[in-house]
């Protein structure tokens, strides 16, 4: 988020379009303000929140038509109404404090997008606020926002941009930013996107083809246009991870791995962009194999390896002395 952050002086920026629109729609906001006030939202916080998003709103509207007034006043008013309602609701819910994800989305993320206000509805504001809360902590939120911005900037002028397309771009960008649990959904959405958009969101290097990259990524989920990078996965619970005891890898397919820590079973998801450690709440399979007996090829990863599984072009290794798993490229060791 740091690349978007500015000082509190930003709120003082003049926002004449926002101010004028608010004056026109203020009657429709009365109930929302009543509800928020009734819930304990202070007038000062509401006013401050509404002031803070003004410059962003102006930037978005001003970008619409270049020289002339490209969007009609009713469209601007519709956006202003929804924008203000979102702010009021978020202030009322205590989710619009300085530094909050919701505020960041309304102040900086949405205004930076190349949205056509005539074809996209203001409901995308809610979508992006909700999605930001989902992405935050699970992936790099700044990369997510940058991805959407780049994707929409590359949107071809002949193809109508709708809410659903924005949602698709947001989901693909979330995957690219490290939200590995969206991998399947995002991969199925990429072919729907115009090539230039897919390239921009997935940060495809010049000379590379996104279809080739996706095909290769299907075989080697942890690779994206280059070799697999060695990286640690998971951590001791005291350091913000999930595990109390050193984990042991028991199986996997290169993307979804089975891990045991003490008596608890876990699923570890990995791919080129991120990883996730999740409790395995499925019914235990009585036929499932436990930790495999030590094998000779494990030695290349250390003398205290408790489990190592080769799949999908990588090896996931667990060690007795570590609460972290190690993901490495498969060097071709003979199992």
């Amino acid at each position: 988020m740091s690349t978007y952050a500015v000082g509190p002086g930003g709120a003082a920026e003049p926002a004449p379009l926002w101010a004028a629109a608010l004056r026109r729609v203020s009657g429709t906001l009365a109930r929302d303000l009543d509800v928020a006030r009734a819930g304990g939202a202070a007038d000062r916080a509401l006013a401050e929140g509404l002031r803070a998003v003004g410059p962003g709103f102006d930037r978005l509207v001003a970008r619409q038509g270049g020289a002339g007034p490209a969007v009609a006043q009713p469209v601007v008013d519709r956006w202003a109404t929804h924008w203000a309602r979102s702010v009021v609701a978020l202030v009322g819910a205590g989710r619009f404090g300085e530094g909050s994800v919701s505020r960041w989305v309304l102040e900086w993320v949405v205004p930076a997008l190349r949205l056509d206000l005539r074809t996209v509805t203001p409901l995308v504001i809610d979508d992006l606020v909700t999605a930001a809360a989902q992405v935050s902590g699970r992936a790099d939120a700044t990369h997510w926002a940058r991805g959407i911005e780049a994707g929409l900037a590359a949107w071809p002028s002949g193809v109508p941009l709708t809410d659903d397309r924005v949602r698709e771009v947001g989901a693909v960008s979330a995957w690219r930013a490290g939200h590995v649990r969206l991998r399947s959904a995002a991969r199925s959405l990429v072919p729907n996107l115009p090539d230039a958009v897919a390239d921009a969101v997935l940060r495809v290097e010049p000379g590379q083809d996104v279809r080739d990259l996706l095909a290769r990524n299907a075989e080697v989920p942890c690779a994206w246009g280059g070799p697999v990078t060695e990286r640690p996965i998971g951590a001791f619970r005291g350091f913000g991870g999930a595990w109390l005891l050193p984990p042991v890898v028991t199986g996997g397919d290169g993307h979804r791995w089975s891990v045991v820590s003490g008596q608890t079973r876990w699923t570890v998801l990995t791919d080129a962009f991120g990883e996730a450690v999740l409790p395995d709440e499925s019914e235990p399979d009585s036929d499932a194999a436990g930790p495999a007996p030590r094998q000779a090829w494990w030695d290349r990863y250390g003398d205290d390896v408790t489990g190592a599984v080769r799949a999908g072009g990588v090896v996931l290794v667990s060690r007795r002395s570590s609460h972290r798993l190690l993901l490495v490229a498969d060097g071709g060791a003979t199992p």
Binding site: G39, D163, T267, S282
Partner: protein, 530 residues
Amino acid sequence: MTTSGEQAHTGLGHVSNAPTRPGAAGRHTDELDLTDLYGTSREATPDAGPPLDEKLRQAYFWITNHAIISPHYDVEFHDGPSERIPLGDSRGELTLPSGQSYSSYVLMPLLTFMVRGRCLMVGGPGRGKTASALLMGVLAGYTPTEMRRGMQHGHPQLTVADLFGTPLPRDLVEAEKLSDVDVAWRSWLGMRVKIVDEYNRIPTRTQSALLTVLADGYVETFDQVYETGASAWYLTANDDAGGGTYQVIDALRDRIDVVVAALPFNNRFLSALVARAERGVRPEDVVPDSIVFTEAEHDRLHRAVLDVPIPRPVLRRIEHFAGQFEYLERAGSQFEYRTKDTARLAGVDPHLVQQDDTGRDALSDVGTQTTAGLSVRALQSLVLYSKAMALFRGDDAVGVDHVRAVLPFVLFQKLPMDTEARVFEQDDTAALRLDRVSWLHAMFDTTCRQFDADGLDHDDPVGDALALFDRGLDGLGAGEVRARITHVGRLLTSIAAQRKVYGHTFDDALTLKYLHQRYTNYLSWLRWSS
């Protein structure tokens, strides 16, 4: 960004986005899709929006956090062991439930909304009875103004015409027969949520008229009939123990499905009360649209409640519990008439008859603690509210914990306590005379323990015999029928060998008599037809 909607100081318009009971339904999956990312589906389907149980829980948490200051969790659920802390000289236990628990004062009206039942809210003035009922109307999509207009206020001069409507004066003069008289019906009769405030101040005659509409859903006056349709009823009373202007007629009282008492205000929450007064906004005026149920959703909700299955083992426990109360050994000579009903019909207090019965253990036999058995209507309410409880918690089927949660509120005034029963003479049980909810819980727990001790989950020969009979008699030969009759006789002999007869064995004995009679009749028919 919220977890359970339980933050005390968030906005009134805020309804939790996060699941109010994570993992309540569906299996865990490690894959997410757009609906997970954006919280909602954009596809315009009739089922858009959260599932009904989730919406109900959102409504519950919104009411408890923003509308009714009721920081109580007296309806307890346990996910694993719960800590119990003895407090005070009497070592009364405060339980810290390990599962999501609820305030009965908000939950029971909400369950009533689900099943379109009849809920009586009792408590002193200013406890929020009317406000809670009003909120239920707003949840049904009515405006606060409509609900206030539709609310019936009990008072000693309330007439049948005040309540239901008046005949048109012109028709009264011109009509040649009664059926020509048009009645201007009161608009509240057609509402899906009906509120009768201070129902125990309504004159007896008007109460009788109210009974028809409350019980059967129609009103009849001047030969005109008005069908009111299914609706949720909320009745309030400052004091349901005879403190009203008029004694509530028994039939009306019996039609009430649940009774819930307002819990006292926790003075630690005075600041919330002050803040609300300063803001000057009434919660019913700012109910979020997202927790309002359309008429179609309300219908769907009712059907969903009915569709929740009750597994046989759970039903068996309800049977076992309900069977405890009717048997009164000294009340009759013929076995069937040995019931508390027989004594009551004879004008004799069942307690007096019970005192002569020295054979049974007064402490463990919960049947000695009441002066009547359970009515069919009470059992229907118990089953319906148990289903609603299961649906509210997002569970697939009714469990024993759901039954236990709603049982005291359903049976609150349907199971009359024998306050002079010997069990209440113990120091540790004396308080149960006053605390009916705990008393009913204690009786249910006792019968469940006995059920387990007798191993009835696995060893239920009478249930097996009944199940065998339920398979049908078609094609059954005389030899097999005779064998079954012999088996029935053997089961009765085994009951006789236990010497003491308890309520549930009374039911078992009569069930075996029923089977014996059905098999005997079938055998006679076989003989005749051959």
